[in-house]
């Protein structure tokens, strides 16, 4: 049976050789000596494409910039890009495809919180690091889940805090009206706005909750007008935000400042055109988390980089919202070092504390914190020009400023 001994010895030798020669055998999925595969997704088609196309392009651009500089610790970033259409079914499908078919190292994506929440249980069960793209709903990050990092330009709590803070501090209001949607965005926005106003002894004289598909805001606006507020704080989405501004102008309420959270005005010029009444924007403000409005140099710098990557496409105002999360991922990959694993990446994200020049405040996470950015600005917009208002307003992580 000498031949059998020979075969056995050969097999043992081959196994040992394989074990020595294959350092990647024990590596996490999507990771080789030369590449890190990231699954990038967002709405690239469908009615909410405006929230995802430019941000996905921006994130891709930032990874390509990192690759141009030689990659991260010798590894190039490889992207697998998918369209999630901002629906829960599509997000879950895309996430499962990226994890089990494309075997990505980590996930980066999502522009709609309600949709991506549907995939969170799976992501955390599979222990796949996940960085949200530009979704700004609170439910995905509060309460925190270990493998999810998000709110790279704020949550509804942050947007609400900025508007309410400005109304109290600069507009010196005593009576406020709030109008929000009857969904998770609206719930978080309303609770924070109310808490901050009441802490400052500002009376909430009206709090209207409207459906996202509302087509006539006459009733809620009449109720608000009857309540005689000093300010109207709106958390509406783009189409209802236009209706609110139109009705507000039509009813001659423009002596009362109208303050709109950022989700209602993704493209200011389009918003102004749709409102169609310059008088409605004479006392209009909106929230924002990026420095590009006040700093032309920053705006031009990133628009130019975008143009160099996508010569045929003009960057929309939402392009910049795709950058902070990509910047954070690159920063954390650098921080995690060459011996990268999914767990070491999560640890690096958790200890992240840096301020990209494009953001109002720093990006910080922690063991019990998964919302990255808590600061916001207020911008005055008259339909033509945007003017940054003084002050940066930072949500305290609990119930106020």
């Amino acid at each position: 049976m000498d031949w059998l001994k020979g075969v056995k010895a050969s097999l043992i030798g081959a196994a040992a050789a394989l074990a020595i020669a294959s350092p990647g055998v024990a590596a996490d999925p999507g990771l080789t000596d030369t590449e890190i595969t990231i699954g990038l997704f967002g709405p690239l088609s469908g009615p909410l494409v405006g929230f995802g196309l430019d941000p996905v392009n921006a994130a891709r651009m930032w990874y390509q910039e990192a690759n141009k500089k030689g990659g991260i610790h010798g590894r190039k970033i490889k992207l697998v890009i998918e369209d999630d259409k901002c629906t829960a079914n599509d997000v879950v499908t895309v996430v499962k495809k990226l994890v089990t078919v494309d075997n990505v190292f980590m996930l980066h994506g999502g522009s709609c919180t309600a949709a991506l929440t549907a995939a969170q249980e799976y992501i955390n069960r599979e222990k796949v690091p996940y960085s949200m793209l530009n979704a700004a709903g609170d439910n995905a990050v509060i309460p925190p889940l270990k493998y999810t990092f998000g709110a790279f330009h704020g949550t509804q709590r942050v947007y609400a805090a900025a508007l309410a803070g400005y109304a109290i501090k600069e507009l010196k209001v005593k009576r406020a009206a709030i109008i929000v949607h009857d969904d998770d965005y609206g719930n978080a926005n309303l609770a924070t706005t109310r808490a901050i106003l009441e802490a400052a002894k500002v009376e909430v004289v009206a709090a209207e909750r409207i459906p996202a598909n509302i087509t006539d805001v006459t009733a809620p606006l009449l109720k608000i007008r009857a309540a005689r507020p000093d300010v109207i704080l709106s958390g509406a989405y783009p189409a209802p935000a236009v209706l609110i501004a139109q009705k507000y102008g039509e009813y001659g309420m423009t002596s009362i400042p109208l303050m709109q959270a950022v989700q209602g005005i993704p493209t200011p010029a389009v918003f102004a055109r749709n409102v169609g009444n310059p008088a409605a924007l004479t006392n209009f403000y909106h929230g924002w988390s990026f420095t590009d409005v006040g700093d032309e140099a920053i705006k031009k710098k990133y628009a130019d980089i975008y143009k160099s990557h996508y010569p045929d496409r003009e960057a929309g105002p939402f392009m910049i919202t795709g950058l902070p999360s990509a910047m954070a991922v690159v920063e954390a990959l650098e921080k995690a070092g060459r011996n990268l694993t999914r767990e070491s990446f999560v640890a690096a994200m958790e200890s992240l504390d840096f301020k990209p020049e494009i953001l109002a405040g720093p990006l910080q996470f922690g063991k019990d914190r998964r919302d990255g950015m808590r600061s916001g600005f207020v911008v005055k917009y008259d339909g033509k020009t945007q003017k940054m208002m003084p002050g940066v307003y930072t949500w305290n992580g609990k119930d106020g400023l």
Binding site: S45, N89, V99, T100, V101, T117, E121, N187, P211
Partner: protein, 333 residues
Amino acid sequence: MYGELTVRPFVGVLILLALGFVLPLLLPEYFLYLGNTLMMYAILALGLDLLLGWSGQFAFAHIAFFGIGIYTSALLQLRLGVPFIVGVPIAAAFAGLVGLLIAIPATRLRTVYLALATYAFAECAQWIFRAWDSVTKGSDGLRISAPDIFGYVVGTDRRAFPVMAIILALVLLSFLYLTRSKLGRELCAIRDSEHVASASGIDVKRTKVIAFVLSAVFAGLAGGTYTLFQSFVNPDSVGLAQLILVLTMVVVGGSGSIAGVLIGVVLIGLLPEFLRAAPRGLLVWQEFFYGLILVLATMFMPRGLWGLWQSLFARAKPQPAASPAAGARGPAA
């Protein structure tokens, strides 16, 4: 039993069961997730077809019963600790009970009035799921924990797949029986002409109510299976888009036929996945291609794909399943 019952459907059910146990050993979870979703839609679409294709009732409350099934089984599990195996039949029965309450007034209506009344009910149901915060958690949604079936914890698509295959197999067998039963014949008679059916001694109102209730039970059951492989539900999961999706599956596949509905479920269910593979520049055209396929299907295949197949290749022998679909003919007279 009425009509010819060949061995083929039973072979199909056996193949489904075999695949239910074999595929989880071979495929990544993504494909199993798609499979689970298709099986859930198959139950949902068969239930809709019972009303639309078999009894000719142009009713749109189906998605509401689906939502009732989801929320009932999820809440029974989350709030009362009722196991899946008990919770899902309760959810299906509850959907059937609500279906009965809706059916009594709704079946007095016909054509566009029935469609509008039932659609209004579906909208009301979605509004309740969204507004009843204290129970459904409204738009924030409910996180569903993994069901436990006699110690078999269904935490993944891999583990859910055989269970879904068994449930679908049981639904198919019950549907095969139902459509060949006296009730099935009565439904076909009502679909073809309520007056003739009535003159033949069929209690039209009672039969329509039974069809409505059974359809709601199937939808509730489909909702129960949703909690088997999904971990989150919010009211957006039971809206107009889902209703149109299921309606499309039935119409494109071929209403009034089990095979047609299953073909529609597979094709329309997988279409987005095929379109997803389109080059990135073409992604924005997905909706257009989707719409184009639907328009062409409706224009050139009024009896659905199954009807087209039959007219091209099947034997000339007439079958009840091949009769013109209600959706293609318009509302029942």
